[in-house]
Structure formats: C-alpha cells, structure tokens
C-alpha cells in the first residue's frame, strides 16, 4: 500500500435496510475497500449529529450514513428525520469545510452492489480530499 493515504470512514447504518444491504454485499462476495467500520443502529432516525461531529473530531476522515429509502422506513418515518437533521448539520459543517466528508445514502436490503459501490465511491472521494484537517487539533 505504501504511503498512500488510507482514509478512515465511520459508517452508521440502520438495522433493516443498509445493514442488510452490507450483509448482501458480503453474501454475494462483492469486494470493496476495507476503510469503513460500521456501527449499527436500529433506525437512521437514531443518527445524532453529535455522533457525526464526534467521529470527525475523533479522527474519522469521513462519515457514511445509510438508511431505508424514503417511504420504506421500518419505523415509518425515521429516515425523513435523519435526512432533515443531516442536511441541517451539513450547513454547519460547510463553515469548517467538512461537509463533503459526510454522506447520507438510501440503500435497501436488496441493494448489496449499491452498498459496495457507494462505499467505494466515498473512499475514493475522501482520498482526494485528503486527511481530515481537524484530526490533530482536537487531540
């Protein structure tokens, strides 16, 4: 691998859709970069902006959030709250130049390839952005 920058991506996925999508990517043996670590929550509605900020200040180079497609939420509408919240957070992150490091995607249980694809894309994009500039300062 050499000295190439390998970003650390923290993932939050809901239990019902995106987590299962990642499972399907696994069952189908679709290879994707190993940079992501997933924390499972029950619903994307549980994704607290505080988690995202903590992750970024803790040294994550990117945060990937995954939930059910609109209208398909296991809990009816948690994903709508997630979307609203993350959009608001993004506005704030813009001020710090961190908004591109946070990504919210809808991936269903049957979308294994999409999961692998999105993670691959995210890793590539964060590689281009370089390391998270706030990593050191907060230590």
């Amino acid at each position: 691998m050499g000295d190439e920058f390998e970003p650390k991506i923290l993932g939050f996925t809901c239990n019902w859709c995106t987590y299962a999508g990642a499972d399907l990517a696994g069952t189908s043996r679709i290879q994707y970069p190993p940079n992501i670590r997933i924390i499972r929550v029950m619903c994307s509605g549980r994704m607290d902006p505080m988690f995202v900020i903590k992750a970024l200040t803790n040294g994550a180079d990117g945060v990937f959030l995954g939930g059910c497609h609109p209208g398909d939420c296991h809990y009816t509408k948690g994903n709508y709250y997630a979307r609203r919240r993350i959009n608001a957070l993004r506005e704030i992150l813009k001020a710090f130049g961190l908004d591109e490091r946070v990504r919210l995607r809808w991936i269903s249980a049957s979308e294994g390839p999409q999961f692998a694809e999105e993670v691959t894309k995210m890793v590539e994009d964060v590689k281009k952005l370089g390391p998270n500039p706030y990593k050191e300062e907060t230590l």
Binding site: K8, L10, N15, W16, Y19, A20, A22, D23, L24, A25, G26, T27, S28, R29, I30, Q31, Y32, P33, P34, R37, I38, I39, R40, V41, M42, C43, G45, R46, M47, D48, P49, M50, F51, K54, A55, N58, G59, A60, D72, C73, H74, Y75, T76, K77, G78, Y81, R85, A109, S110, G112, P113, A116
Partner: protein
C-alpha cells in the same frame, strides 16, 4: 400432537414457523437436500429467506428431515401415520401439504429454441442477473437487446390453460434488477395482458417510462438463423406480423402442479382439479379432513398469498400447544465486565478468509476479555455460550454472525444460558469483513470490529424485558367475509371476540344474499364466544399490544389484539356514462343482484375499469372476474343475448382464466380500448375504438354495465383516526406497503398486535379473503394464547430529572408512543437542598418500538435509547 408439513419451500417453512409459534411440535419434510425451494433460486431473494432458514434451524419445536419422500399416508384427522422413504414413520394429528410447483419446461416445444445459448427460462435468467453469478449480474458480452416472452406454458390449452398469476410481475422484477446491473440494455416484453395490481402496477408504469418497450402481441415465436435470434409475433395493436432481432430471449415460464403433489394426493386420497391442482375450500382445506394445502399446490400464487395460506393452514392444523419452557433464573452481572468471545467459524471456512489465530491473539489482549472460543456451527452455540457463562463471563460477544440475521436467536441462546438477553453484542466479521476484503485487510478489520463490539458490550446494562399482561379477547372491526371468518377462527381456539360492524347488518360488501355470507352470518350469530355489535361506530382506540381498549358510545371494550377488516366501498360512478340519469346504465354489482331474478336484454355492454386504473386509483382485481362470470351467467340463461366486454386488459388471474376461456367460447365479445381512448356513451349508443380492429365500433345496448372499482378512502381515514397511523387514503394497504414488505408477514398491520385482512388490504376473490381471515385470526390466537407478551427491552427511557417537558419527542414519535404527563420529580438544584416538585415530563408508553429517533432529537438529551445509548455508540466510534 405433532403436525407434519410436507415441502420445505417458503410455504412449508412459514407454516412450520407459524405452528411452532403456537407451541405445536412440527416435523418439516423436504425431498431435496436443503430447505428454501424455488425462492432460493430467485435473484437476491436470499436476503428475505435466510433469516427464516436460520429461525427454522434454531427452533427447538421444529424437526427438519431432508432428502426423504413420503411413501405412505394412513389414518385420519388426529391420527395420521406417514411412512418415509427411509422407513421411518411419523405420527401426526394434521398434515400440511406445501409441495409447491414445477416450472414449465419449454424445451418440449421447438419453437422457442431453448437449446440456443442466449435463450433462457426465467429461472435460468435469475441466475444470470444474480449478484452471485460469476459476472455479478452483468450480462455476457454482446447482449444489448433482450426480449421477454410472457405466458410460456400458461394460458395455453396445450400446456396449461390457467394463468400462472406471478409471471407478469416476476418479469418486471427481473427487468428492474437487469437494468440496475446493465443500464444500457434495451428491453422488450411480449405480452397478452398485464396482470398485476397494487404497487406492482406503478413498477411497470415506471419501467415503461424508463424505456422498456411492452408489445401487446400474440403467439410470438423464436427464430434462430446462423445463431442470430429473431422473435416473430403478431402485433395486436398494429394488427400485423412483425419481427424483431434480439441478442437474447427470456421465456417467462408458468407454474404447473408438481409431480410430488399428484403422488401425495393419491397417497392421501385427495381430490384434484382437472388441471392437477389440489382441490380446496376456504383457500386451504383439502377434501380430506385434517389435511391442508398451502402455496402453489392449489393454484399458482405469489409469495405473500402463499404465506397467508401457510398461516391459515397452520391455524387450522394447530391444536392449542403447550406453554413455552420455563426460563432459568437470570444471573445479575456483578463487578467489572468479564467478556467471553465466541468466534463462529462457519464450519471452519472463515479461516480461509482471515487469520483466525491473529484475531484470537488480538482479542485476548483486549481489556476485559477472559475467554475466546471457536464454534463451527450454529447448533454448537448453545453449549459454548452456556459454558462461557458458567466459567464466569458476564458479557458475551459473538463474532462471525450478523445482527440482522442472528441477533434475536443469539439473545435467546444467551437468555437460556442464564444471562440477560441484552448482555451480548455481535461483531459481523464475516459479511462485513472476511467475505468482502483481501485476507490481511479483512483480518485487521475483523479485529477492529471485535474491539468495537467489546467497547459497546462493556457499556450495556441488563435490560428488563417487561412482560405485558394479555387480555384474552379479540376485537374484529368489520362484519364482512374477512371479519366474520377471522372471528370464527379466533373463537374456534376458545378466545372471545367482539365483532364490530358499522352497518345495521352483518355481510359487508357482498351482502347477506350471498350464500357464503349467509352461512358465515349463521355461524357467527350462533357462536357463543362471538359478541356481535352492529350499527356500532368506534369512537376511540387506546392501548397497546395485549391491552387495547376500544370505546363505542359509552361502552368500553377490552381486547388483546385487533383485526382490521373494514373492507372497501364500491366506487360511485355518479355522472359517468349517464349513470343515475339513464335507467339503462347500471353497475356490475347491481347486475349481479338482478341476475338472481333474471334480466331482459338483447344486448349487454360492460365497461371495465370505471373508477379504477384511472391514474389515481389502482386496479381493483376483482372486476374483470366479476364481469366475465356475470357475462357467462347471462349467456347460460339466454345464449342469444349479445354480451360485449370493453376492457383495458382482461385480468382473470390464476384459475379464473378458465372463466375467460369459457366466456369466449360461449360467444362473449371482448373489445380492448386504449387507456387514453375510453369508450363514450351518447344517445344510447356506446362508441369504442377497438385496438384489435383498429376502428371504431358502435353498440346500442339494452343494458350498459359499469364495472366499478373499489374505494377505501373513508375506511383508511377512520383507521388513521383510530390508530394514529398516517396512511394515504387513496390506496389499499397492500398498495402502500408493496409486496416486498408484506411478503413474509402478509396480515400484520402497522402497530404491534393489530392485523389486517380482506379488501382494505387489497381486493380479492372470496376464497382468498376467507384464507386471509383465517390467517389473521390465527395470528391473533398465537398472540393471545401467550400468558404474557415479552416486550422489546431496547426502548426509549426518559430521565425525568433532565426532561424539560418541551414535547418535541411527542410530535416526532412515529408510533405516538410518547405523552406528556405530570410527574413527581425529585430535582436537585445547584445550591440549596434537593427539592421535589410536580412537573410536566415526557413519558414513553408501551407503544415504543425502539427506533431511537427521539433519543437523538431530544434537545436536553433527556431520552436514552437503551442498548443504543450515546455512551455505547461513542465508545465504539472513539476506536476509529
């Protein structure tokens, strides 16, 4: 007593699980080597099927026997003896047949050239587009244009005169998957009629908008010339013979009765239909008492309908089972977390993906880990976890399983080992690491995932699983066929029912003049356990699973579960086709009533899809069958009456295709009009542009019959009001949810403890409604037979001290599970004495399902999502 389920496809699996839920011991027999049936062959269906397979495997009440066939069936209800091919015999009180279907083999016909490498059957094509194919679902090079031919081995008197019901939609699903993995491919579909309803109809509309060409055609034929593929067909729109060059062809093969079904029917002496399906009444009862049928053995059905039948068959077959075994006294974890780690090696295969020795070493070095054990199979989990707990572990981490697929099972095992079921966490090092990354990196990631799981499990505390008391009574809303049948099913298991009907009489949409309805009314009214309330409008429903309370006028009814069977209303065609002004214009329902006494008309014209499939409302499914059977009734009484049916598609699904064929042979004339050119009715003359003829036709009918669709708007509105749901009112429930959500729990409604059946879900024929009523009733029974209902432990909890009573959580909770209450709170102030005061705080009710949305939205951080607490999540993400 044991129930024997024959056939290990999805119907058999779901029947076995439904039986076990009710405490009935079950033997599941499968002739193949593995369970799963045809569902396992469908691209990516595995994500739905796999959890069920795991459930069956881990279920102590289900014995699975594979690789055997049934050779002999003796005895009768209550005492059957089945002799298996190995010689073993099984005693069973009832038998459920779920032997599925055999896909039609098109190689018997040379006209489709199945020998050509690029001609696939739809099942073969599932493998081509499956992610687990060698190309990951990408088509072989050189395939840019692909054609799907519908009705291969269906609606064809030479092979199978019936409609297979499922092919229109499975083709659409295949195209969806195909396009997702091969966006540039051109797709053509050769079809006669599109037969889908609900959300599926929108899926097909979307495919059309995205450029899939649907060609209405007849007798397509595949021609191979020097390896090139051409489809020649009669374009019924243009009325001419055409041909289209393609690179590949997919044959949408139909579903035929399976060979084993016939053999079993002979062994058990069951009656068959002329097509070779098992003859059933009530959707699932065979001609022999004590033997039931579910899935495709009685007619081709979709998975959700097969599961309805499986639930219904299980309910009829089950006798009240024994209560679940007593749980051991739980150990209170004391002192520091002592973590026992299990690595599930998947029969040793995990070791070929990651370096297990390294993982083990790294895990042992983590603070708090006291033991690491490897377990090769799921069945070994029980003993290993028990021994870990015995040796002093008070927290467990299982690496190598998936939260989504295994969590509940693992929690059960942990509980049986004497530890609180929430003191375990999973590290998914198989699906999320070993299988998707190169060995070195996968090993590193696995160690990280285990670290994260350990960090979390250190922070979790035992959660109390509250046992909710159960009111052993059910509330059934709606006195139509579905509601009455559900009530009878519940009562037959000794549970009381309140049956509420808004109208003055029972009978619902079909009305008491219908024979089946009249019989149901008689049974319901004479059943002591069913308390019927007619002319009763429900004012309010409160409570939660096991403990609902329903207010009607001044009366309060307590019930443990609710069945919603409010049915649908006929669409009122006021103003359309002069309905209401011209006495010659009537609705199909009115015609049905008039036919009881006979009609006097030389010419009858029927217009389909009035108030359905109009852009707003979807297909009502029953109107085509109703129209065709009324047309047949007219012809039967007076063969000289001219009957015209003006339609968009003729949707006589499954066995009802027979009616369509009969109607055509008896001279009923079918004229197809285009969606954008509906027929007109002026001065007593119907004018229609017939697409087959390509010209206008005028008819002067003595009766113009409007086949009106069904409408649920007022019913949905009422349900939303009573249960606090937020469902769109212009759609049937199944249209809102879609097959993918309903497939494996087809009668479950939004709120725990509530179930849905009948036309409010989706319009259906009476037999299907009856099966659905039984299924919903069965689900109620398995719920209410419990002495108490264990409630999800990982729910929200309010810290009343911090709560400011702002009420934001009350508004956002998707289940209306939070309310503001006055509470006596001991509050500390920064200086001075602790004071106690009454203040308004949020209170989480038993409706909470544990999504955690409120916890992340609370401005005061006063709500904790137990098991997913901030501290646990933060300790995981700190490891990054």
């Amino acid at each position: 007593m044991t129930v024997c389920v024959i056939g290990g496809g999805i119907s058999g699996i779901m029947a076995a699980l439904a039986l076990s839920r009710r405490g009935t011991e079950t033997v599941l027999i499968e002739s193949g080597e593995t369970l799963g049936g045809h569902m396992a062959e469908i691209a990516d269906c595995i994500s739905g099927l796999e959890p069920k397979l795991i459930e069956v495997e881990a279920d102590p009440l289900i014995e699975v026997i594979t690789g055997v066939t049934v050779e002999k069936i003796d005895g009768s209800r209550g005492n059957f003896t089945l002799t298996l091919s190995g010689g073993r015999t099984i005693n069973a009180s009832s038998i459920i047949l779920a032997t599925g279907y055999t896909p039609f083999d098109p190689s018997v016909w040379s006209r489709y050239h199945l020998e050509h490498p690029n001609v696939y059957t739809s099942l073969e094509f599932e493998r081509v587009i499956s992610l687990s194919s060698p190309t990951g679902g990408r088509l072989p090079d050189g395939i840019r244009r692909i054609g799907f031919i519908q009705c291969i081995g269906s609606r064809d008197p030479r092979a199978n005169p019936l409609c297979s019901s499922v092919c229109c939609m499975y083709t659409a699903n295949e195209i969806k998957t195909l396009k997702a993995r091969n966006p540039d491919v051109e797709v053509y579909v050769f079809f006669m009629d599109i037969r889908v309803a609900g959300r599926d109809e929108r899926t097909i509309d979307k495919l059309k908008r995205e450029g899939v060409t649907y060609i209405r055609s007849r007798v397509p034929e595949v021609i191979t010339d020097d390896g090139k593929l051409t489809v020649r067909y009669e374009d019924t729109g243009a009325g001419e013979l055409k041909s289209l060059d393609l690179d590949a062809v997919v044959l949408a093969i139909g579903l035929l009765p399976s060979g084993s079904t016939r053999k079993l029917a002979e062994l058990a002496g069951l009656e068959l239909t002329e097509e070779g399906y098992i003859k059933v009444s009530d959707g699932v009862r065979t001609s022999v008492d004590g033997i039931y049928a579910c899935g495709c053995v009685a007619a081709p059905v979709r998975i959700s309908d097969a599961v309805v039948q499986a639930e219904a068959a299980a309910s009829l077959a089950s006798e009240d089972g024994s209560p679940p075994p007593e749980m051991p006294e739980l150990i209170e974890p004391e002192g520091e977390p002592a973590i026992g780690l299990i690595i599930f090696t998947d029969n040793g295969t995990l070791g070929s993906y990651i370096d297990l020795e390294k993982v083990r070493e790294a895990a042992l070095a983590i603070d708090g880990v006291i033991q690491v054990k490897e377990v090769p199979s799921l069945s070994g989990l029980e003993a290993e976890i028990a021994s870990l707990v015995k040796d002093g572990s008070n927290r467990i981490v299982v690496a190598g399983l998936s939260h989504r697929k295994h969590e509940e099972m693992v929690r059960d095992v942990v509980e049986r080992a004497g530890l609180n079921r929430y003191l375990v966490e999973i590290a998914n090092i198989r699906e999320h690491a070993a299988w998707v990354h190169p060995p070195d990196e996968a090993t590193r990631k696995s160690i990280d995932l285990i670290r994260m799981a350990i960090a979390k499990v250190r922070e979790v505390s035992p959660l109390k699983v509250e046992l909710l008391p159960v009111t052993r009574r059910a509330l059934v809303i709606g006195g139509g066929v579905a509601g009455m049948r559900a009530s009878l099913e519940i009562a037959s298991h000794g549970i009381g029912v309140y049956l509420i009907e808004r109208e003055e009489k029972l009978g619902g949409m079909l009305g008491e003049s219908n024979e089946i309805v009249a019989d149901l009314i008689k049974q319901v009214e004479s059943n002591e356990l069913i308390q019927v309330m007619t002319g009763a409008e429900i004012d309010r429903i409160e409570g939660y699973i096991g403990n609902f309370s329903c207010t009607i006028r001044d009366e309060k009814l307590e019930a443990g579960a609710i069945v919603i069977a409010t049915g649908a209303k006929r669409f009122e065609p006021a103003g359309l086709y002069s309905y209401g002004d011209d006495p010659k214009v009537i609705t199909q329902a009115e015609l049905t009533r008039r036919l009881e006494t006979g009609i006097d008309a030389g010419t009858v014209a029927m217009i389909q899809c009035v108030g359905s499939r109009d852009g707003e409302r979807g297909c009502s499914r029953v109107c085509c069958i109703e129209a065709v059977s009324n047309a047949l009734a007219i012809k039967e009484k007076n063969p000289d009456t001219e009957v015209f049916i003006l339609h968009k598609d003729i949707r006589t699904y499954g066995i009802y295709e027979k009616l369509y064929r009969d109607a055509r042979s008896k001279g009923v004339i079918f004229l197809r009009f285009d969606e954008d050119k509906p027929p007109k009715y002026e001065n007593g003359i119907v004018t229609v542009f017939d697409t087959l003829l390509g010209d206008e036709i005028q008819i002067r009918p003595d009766l113009l019959v409007l086949s009106t669709g069904l409408d649920v708007a007022d019913r949905m509105q009422k349900i939303n009001e009573l249960l606090g749901t937020d469902l769109p009112t212009d759609k049937f429930y199944a249209e809102v949810k879609g097959e993918s959500h309903l497939r494996l729990n087809p009668v479950d409604f939004e709120i725990d403890g509530t179930f849905i059946a009948g036309a409010i879900k989706l319009p259906k024929m009476v037999d299907e409604v009856i099966a659905e009523g039984i299924a919903a009733g069965g689900r109620v029974c398995s719920l209410l037979q419990q002495e108490a209902i264990p409630r999800e432990g990982a729910v929200a909890l309010v810290d009343e001290e911090i709560c400011s009573g702002c009420g934001i959580c009350v508004q956002i909770c998707p289940f209306g599970a939070i309310e503001l209450v006055q509470s006596l709170v001991e509050e500390r102030v920064t200086y001075g004495w602790p004071i106690t005061e009454i203040k308004e705080v949020a209170h989480v009710t038993k409706l909470c399902r544990g999504c955690g949305t409120c916890a992340s939205l609370c401005p005061s951080s006063a709500i904790r999502h137990q098991f997913f607490e901030d501290v646990g999540i933060l300790s995981q993400l700190e490891l990054i």
